[in-house]
Subunit: 215 residues, 2 copies
């Protein structure tokens, strides 16, 4: 397998976690998101992923897969151990819902291209920081309420097994810290992220631990 | 089943389509998204869905499910006919990826709460329109390139069967028209949406055909 990724890409971070959890080795091909206006917009990468976003996974038999959450579901189907979704349909629905609170309703509103668009409209860094912080606080505070009320309790977002929801969540912490989100309203979410970062598959996937990291 | 929805909610529109396709009857409970600052923010609805977003599905046995794409996956698992995902893992990955280009990377950037936040920051209607149009054009133009290059071709986004991707896509057309997106770059996406709107399950789910429509 090959994965086009970048150390700072939150969506790539998710795929790295899943590959590590399932002990799948994949060659990492770094696509620099800011050099020369962003290598994701190069003709070469556009031919691989017309959406000009990371990550892209190339499977063993040469299929090109895009969109991190779709890739995670694929990996979970092909390499079922450890399972990233509960076995029961209601459990699956809850986990996918928790995952999408981050993957649909939090992350895409404040990823790189959105912040670039806001800056191009004249926003200064302070306005951009407030924007990022706002959406992360809203997402994390919703998660906090939902996990506190849930029937299934445990050390992670949905019980005691790591799920797609945990994988979607953890990379969002990078932006939360970088843009100064106020996380005082969601102590359990923060604690869960810290617990997950102790798991080697998560730790190894962190931005600063990637071969292309510039830190 | 019961579904908390609203005629103008794009995410609710998706769930209505799936319920119709699978011939499941569900009681619709209308949550007015603008009256009195938005009934989704009422204490009563917050207790049902702490994210204060639509839709919420209440299953036959009383489970509360949120997030439209998670609900669609649940319905597809419990009521497998007609299937909304291909049987093969690669096909599933492609369909989920197409779906997420809209459900994660297009819709959440220009839904109601985001536009309200932009207006609160001082943007006028013209700036808001340009914002919405920009993200829809980017999403639809990506889809156009991807479906034109895909191995699997047919009358819908992924072959000749209706999938989660079609269901995620169609409701986005409402905002595309309302905010004046330029769709000249994606004729096949537009044609596919028009074809899908001829399918009774999609037509019946349209905003103007809901009991709470104000048209």
């Amino acid at each position: 397998m090959k994965v086009y990724d970048y150390w700072r890409s939150g969506a790539s971070f998710r795929v790295r976690i899943a590959l590590n959890l399932k002990n799948i080795s994949a060659e990492q091909i770094s696509i620099h998101l800011s050099k020369d206006g962003g290598m994701q917009h190069s003709d070469e990468y556009k031919a691989i992923n017309p959406q000009e976003l990371l990550p892209t996974l190339i499977t063993e038999d040469g299929h090109r897969l895009t969109q991190s959450m779709a890739i995670l579901e694929y990996l979970d189907e092909i390499y079922p151990e450890p399972a990233l979704l509960p076995a029961d349909p209601i459990g699956k629905a809850h986990v996918r819902s928790l995952a999408n609170i981050i993957a649909a309703d939090t992350h895409p509103i404040q990823n790189l291209r959105v912040l670039q668009k806001l800056k191009a409209s004249g926003w200064d860094q302070e306005q951009v920081n407030e924007w990022v912080a706002h959406w992360i606080e809203l997402g994390f505070n919703s998660l906090e309420k939902i996990i506190n009320q849930a029937d299934v309790q445990g050390q992670y977002l949905y019980g005691d097994e790591i799920t797609l929801a945990d994988i979607a969540l953890v990379p969002q912490m990078v932006n939360a810290k970088r843009f100064g989100a106020d996380l005082s309203g969601c102590p359990r979410v923060v604690e869960t992220i810290e617990r997950l970062l102790q798991v080697p598959a998560f730790d190894k996937a962190q931005p600063q631990n990637q071969p292309d990291a510039e830190v």
